[in-house]
Structures are given as C-alpha cells and as structure tokens.
C-alpha cells in the first residue's frame, strides 16, 4: 500500500528470512499477527469497532441517516464506504482527498460486504422511492504497519454487527433496532515475496512484495470479493490454493467478531 522505499539490505533480509521458511516476528507463512477486536467504543456512532492486527490499528465507525434511495434502486437502502488514510498513521499519508490507495481500500471493503449480501438493502427501505436508511461506513487508519485491508474489513464488519439504527432520533419508529446482519464476510490478504506466499504481510513485507491478493470469504465458504494489487503477476496454478487458505484463515478471524 505504501510507497515507502525499502532499503536494499532490509529487503534482502526479508527475502532471506522467507526463503528459509521464517518471517519477521517468527511467524509462519499463514499465521496472522495478534488480532484484537474492540466494539462499541464510540458512543456517538451507531456502531463502531477498533481492530488491531499487530501494530496496525484501524477504527471503523457507522453512522446512519435517512435519505433518498438511488433512482435505479428505489426500494433499497444505501451503503457508502469511505476510508481516510489520515496523516497521523504514516509519514507517507498526506492530508487531502483520498488518493488511489484510499479509494481502492474503501472499495474493496465495500464490495466484500455488498457481494456477501450481509446487509439486506431491502430491509433498509422505509418508504419506497423516497425514504431509506443510508449507512455510512467510515474507516480511519490510525497506525499503518501493513495489511490495512484486512484490518479495515474486519473493523467494518465488527462495527456493523454492533450497529443500532436510530429510529427514535429520526422519528421513524418507536424503538431503535439493531442492524440485521445476515453474513460475515472476512477479507484475508497475502503477499508474494520472492515466490513465497505469506498472509497478513506487515509493512516491510508489503514493501518487499510487488503483489498482494485479497480474498473475501463468507461463513459458508463462498467468495464475495477478490482484488489483486501490485505490479506483479500470479501464476494461474497458485490461485486455488490461495483461495483455500484464505477461506480457512477467514474462519479463524470470524471468531473474533
């Protein structure tokens, strides 16, 4: 994700470690760093969660508003996902509108959730053609040590499971209702470093790699999003094994929700 230029010696070191079946921090190739999920920490938000994967730290907040549906989907609610790579998280992040990395991050998270049908958009319709719930998923990157997508997707999903729609505040109901969640899409990302595949790359590993693959899988094993990133290429034969590993690792991450 980052444009940091990694020093040659650091890159060589990372390559050497991985070639010898080792990794920074002594992890296995398919082992995540410590993952923690903390829900409901922003009381002003309809839902929120902070996820840490190793030193990577991401906060997702959900706000709900009432608004008009899109013209082509008058009976469906709306989900809008945004990511801010705020400058406090990394010296390479700059203030201003999201750059292509921020845009891609938000869209990968968004498509993973959308594709899984975790949120039934029809249930967010209050009055077809005029009044629907608009759910904003806002992702704040607080500390960047690699694998922002997995952390952001997990934080977003955790925040959604923690969301209550404010029917009373908007005077559209007698009681606030928890947002109905029908599936739990989980994104897992791997990087190719010198021909070896490692999951949950840290920042140095990301910078030593020129290819990452994010696969979002659902509770029943279906796939609801794939994104290849980086300037490298993936051998055709490797894909199905990566998807299998992603599915298995997603199962473990799902328990944290």
């Amino acid at each position: 994700m980052s444009e940091d230029i990694l020093s040659e010696v650091r890159r060589d070191y990372i390559y050497r470690l991985i070639k010898n079946g080792d990794r920074i921090g002594g992890r296995k190739a398919d082992e995540y760093r410590d993952v923690s999920v903390e829900k409901g920490i922003i009381v002003r938000a309809e839902g929120s969660a902070r996820v840490k994967i190793g030193n990577t730290d991401v906060l997702a907040g959900i706000k709900a508003q009432i608004g008009e549906p899109f013209l082509d989907t008058p009976d469906k609610g709306v989900i809008i996902t945004n990511a801010e790579l705020v400058p406090l998280a990394s010296p390479s992040f700059e203030a201003g509108p999201p750059d292509e990395n921020g845009v891609e991050l938000a869209r990968v998270v968004d498509k993973g959730i959308r594709g899984s049908h975790a949120i039934e958009l029809e249930k967010l319709c209050l009055d077809a053609g005029s009044k629907v719930w608009i759910i904003f998923i806002d992702i704040h990157i607080l500390d960047h040590d690699g694998n922002l997508i997995d952390a952001s997707a997990l934080a977003s999903m955790a925040a959604l499971t923690n969301t209550t729609l404010p029917y009373i505040r908007y005077e559209v109901g007698e009681e606030d209702e928890a947002l109905l969640i029908k599936d739990t899409p989980i994104a897992t990302t791997c990087a190719d470093i010198g021909g070896e595949i490692v999951f949950d790359p840290c920042l140095d590993e990301e910078n030593a790699s020129n290819i990452e693959l994010t696969v979002t899988t659902n509770a029943n094993g279906d796939i609801s999003g794939i994104q290849k990133r980086g300037t490298g290429k993936i051998p055709f034969e490797d894909i199905s094994q990566i998807v299998d590993s992603s599915r298995r690792l997603a199962g473990e991450l799902r328990k944290k929700l």
Binding site: H117, G221, I226, K228, R247
Partner: protein
C-alpha cells in the same frame, strides 16, 4: 433504466444468443491516431474503446521520476455520453480504482528499466460502454503500447467472467453485469498463464470461481490472437500501400 429481464439465460442461451463460454464479436485496430506514439481502437460487443500511449517522455512533475525505471500513468476515462444516464465528466472513485488496477495489470510485461526518469502515459477513453470496459481498455492499451514501440515481454489480454442466473458465463453484457450475481475481470499473459488483474464483485462458490477462471483463460487466448493480428495487419497495410 430498463427493468431486469425475467431471465438472463434461457436453456443455456444468453440474451444476445451466445452460449455460456462464447465471446462477443471483437474488432481490434492498431495505430489509429496520429499524434499519439501508439494507439488502438477496439469494438467489443457494444463497447467502443480508444487507447493512446505517449512516451516514454519526461516525467512531470519531476519528483515523480524514478532514477531506476520509467513510471506508468494510466487514465481510464468514461465519456459522459458512453452510458445511458449521463456520466459526470472527470475522475470518480470507480475510475480512480480502475486506473490503478489497470496500470498494475500492464506493469508485469513492461520493461521499464530501459527508460529511467521517464513516464509512459496511457490514456483509455470509453466512448461507448456495454460491460467489460476495464478489460477492453487493458486489451486496447496493451496493443497501443506495442504500437508505440515500448519494450515489453509480452502482450496482456483481458476479459471478464461472471455469474448470472446461477450459471458461470464468459464476457458479460450489460444486463448480465447489472443483474447477475457476480462480475470478475481478469487479465492474463496468455502464453504463460500468469494473472495480472483479478477482481471479483458479487458472490460465487469456490467451485464456480475455478470454472470462471478457466473460462477467462480460454477467453484471453482468443483475445490474444486478435491483438496479435491487429499489429501484424497494421504492418502489412503499410507494405501494400
């Protein structure tokens, strides 16, 4: 916006009469613009796409220069009249993302180390859109890069696969893209089978995914042949003048 057709696939036959693994008619022409260093025009089903390459040329602004290699810029742009509801001109989030992944899809074949400090600028204009515009754009850009004389290890070919009415299908049309269950653009170096672009929107099973990937491979092979022919034809035309 029209409504969803009742069925997208009837007894294995799609709305435009194709079977699940058939591609639309594709016409590729290399070297269609005068000012650009390389160019390509593609008609792919209802898509009309123009790609132009400028460069290698001096990278601006200077701080973007890389002393080890050329940088690539890729601009995917949809004409406002290319779709049913007028598209607001200028980059939106979708086109920013498409530009990024398309650039990365071409990077693996470009031998950028020959042109340090320079920039290779790729401009893709979607003049008319009918699903699969990003893959059509990558296919066109790849031909335009070769036409510009840029050193490359191979061409990149691209096509989209997906799922509609429960079936895995190759080369989606607009209705299948809008109302289907999944859309998966793929770009490949056909001769080696290496994948340089892979995205998936929607939901499919693991088994369907593998089937789709094999459809994509077959599709890319057909696309590659047409790309190659367009370049050979351009040369032959210059001989018989």
């Amino acid at each position: 916006m029209q409504n969803r057709p009742e069925k997208l696939i009837n007894d294995g036959i799609r709305l435009d009469g194709r079977g699940p693994d058939e591609i639309r008619p594709i016409k590729i022409e290399a070297g269609v613009l005068n000012r650009a260093d390389g160019s390509c025009y593609i008609e792919w089903g209802g898509n009309k796409v123009l790609a132009a390459v400028y460069g290698p040329r001096e990278a601006h602004p200077r701080h973007l220069q890389d002393s080890r290699k050329a940088i690539i810029k890729y601009r995917y742009n949809m004409a406002s009249f290319s779709v049913e509801d007028r598209k607001r001109p200028g980059p939106d989030r979708r086109s920013v993302e498409i530009s990024k992944v398309s650039r990365d899809a071409l990077a693996p074949v470009l031998m950028l180390e020959y042109f340090p400090r320079s920039s290779i600028d790729i401009f893709v204009e979607i003049l008319q859109a009918d699903a699969g515009t990003r893959t059509t754009g990558i296919t066109a850009a790849s031909v335009a890069l070769a036409d510009a004389g840029i050193p490359m290890k191979n061409l990149v070919s691209a096509i989209s696969v997906g799922k509609a009415d429960g079936e895995v299908i190759l080369d989606l049309i607009r209705e299948e893209d809008n109302y289907g269950e999944a859309d998966m653009p793929v770009a490949m170096i056909t001769e080696t089978g290496d994948i340089t672009l892979l995205q998936m929107d929607g939901r499919i099973t693991g088994e369907e995914f593998i089937k789709a990937l094999n459809f994509a491979k077959k599709g890319c092979e057909s696309v590659y042949k047409l790309q190659r022919r367009s370049l050979i034809e351009k040369y032959e035309k210059s001989c018989s003048d």
